[in-house]
């Protein structure tokens, strides 16, 4: 059946704004982790100030979805796509907030001597960014196989978070002066793990959007 052209144009515009937001969120995760690693406070401050574009997109995308639902009464795939967009929008905004949290921890961490050489946290940052990127790609390409790969990656991130915690616990027990900076590193690993959870949510929404399957909260699955 011939698609309703101007509705289709609006859906495409919604998708492109959502991708723009995803790109911004991903970049902010990258920058916040970089700030932590290089200990550049001016750079970190720039990251801290840069949340506004994401917040503006958050509101704009919600309004677009609201109008599409109100004025076009979408059905089936289109309905699922718009509901998914509302949820993905929330996840991306939270990712932006978590990037701010990471930058705040990085700012505090930079005021202490480094606890250790950072290996696992940058790796967690790479994985979280990769999950976000793949989740958004799976959204664009309507690719449930790629979405499923995102779900599978979440376990790696969880395992790394546990490892970071155990390792830093050892440092803290040996040298109480490391407690404060080590806690910030633990917080960062927690934030990165949460970013992975948001990427997972997005991937689940993509699977729902494409195949109408709800894969959330299934025992023995990825979560």
């Amino acid at each position: 059946m011939e698609r309703v052209r101007h509705f289709q144009e609006e859906l495409e515009a919604l998708q492109s704004r959502l991708l723009e937001m995803g790109g911004l969120a991903e970049e902010r995760v990258r920058a916040s982790v970089q700030g932590l690693v290089v200990r550049d406070t001016a750079f970190i401050d720039k990251v801290l100030r840069g949340d506004e574009p994401i917040n503006e997109l958050h509101i704009e995308i919600d309004n677009r979805c609201f109008m599409l639902l109100a004025l076009h009464q979408p059905m089936a795939t289109d309905l699922r796509a718009i509901v998914a967009a509302v949820k993905i929008n929330t996840d991306l905004e939270r990712v932006g907030d978590l990037a701010v949290n990471i930058a705040e921890a990085a700012r505090r961490y930079a005021s202490h001597p480094p606890v250790k050489k950072l290996i696992d946290i940058p790796q967690m940052g790479d994985i979280a960014q990769g999950m976000l990127r793949d989740a958004l790609d799976s959204f664009v390409r309507r690719d449930t196989v790629l979405a499923q790969q995102v779900l599978n990656q979440d376990d790696i991130l969880d395992a790394l978070k546990t490892q970071v915690f155990r390792e830093l616990l050892t440092y803290m027990l040996h040298d109480p002066t490391t407690v404060e900076p080590a806690l910030d590193l633990i917080l960062v690993s927690r934030h990165l793990e949460r970013i992975g959870d948001h990427a997972t949510n997005i991937a689940e929404d993509v699977i729902f959007m494409v195949s109408a399957l709800d894969v959330r909260h299934q025992p023995g699955q990825h979560q």
């Binding site: 309703v4 515009a13 109008m67 109100a70």
Partner: protein, 275 residues
Amino acid sequence: MSASIPIPSLAGIAARGAQPAIQGPPKVQAEALNFFYGETRALQDISINIQPNVVTAFIGPSGCGKSTFLRTMNRMNDIIPGTRVEGKLLIDGTDIYGHGIDVVSLRRRVGMVFQKSNPFPKSVFDNIAYGLRVNNMDGSRAEVEERVEQSLRQAALWDEVKDRLHDSALAMSGGQQQRLCIARALAVKPDILLMDEPASALDPIATQRIEELVYDLKKDYTIVIVTHNMQQAARVSDFTAFFWLGKLVEYDRTQKIFTNPGEKTTEDYVTGRFG
């Protein structure tokens, strides 16, 4: 993005009475318009400014006056005995119920498409050429052919009928007949196109084509569409006027009417609580 619904800030939308904030001179302006069928007052003090080059939808339950008001805009009600108009109805600033108004020329400028498609029992070509002839717009054969093609293209019908222009219009599908009637209305170069339930007798695909067409035509025409299908009003229109019991209850941007109407009666109607 060429065709875009404006993205408002929801917080910025506040109830602001019966008229939306609009810039520029209106195309159609009703001032305290009353309409009577004998003793019955079918329209009560309608005041509204309709903007050029947008789609304005009239919605409301049966008998609310929306079609009556539409037909006042090209004086189509004049043919009904015992009817009477009070108040003013201005098109481009001229009162169309004033002295010296040529109704034939008014109806050329204000075209109309009806609920039931009504092609003449003639060929596709002649259906359009006929309107040109009666309006003395026919010119040379080549000019007529060009105008017929142009109108059929505007009505998104050309590709479907270009090889059978001389077949009977009555052999076409209902949706095609309706688009032919739109082409016929467009051929005489109106400014305003009035559509009275133009898709209510059509299947969903033909309806969708008409809706897309309406959306495209607003670049060049001022379109007023009466529909009892609220979803259709939401999809195609920029402004929506809600009529009830012969009164204009609320008139605003379509997105406001369907997301946050200012009047309780409008809210009850668009949420399906009555009507």
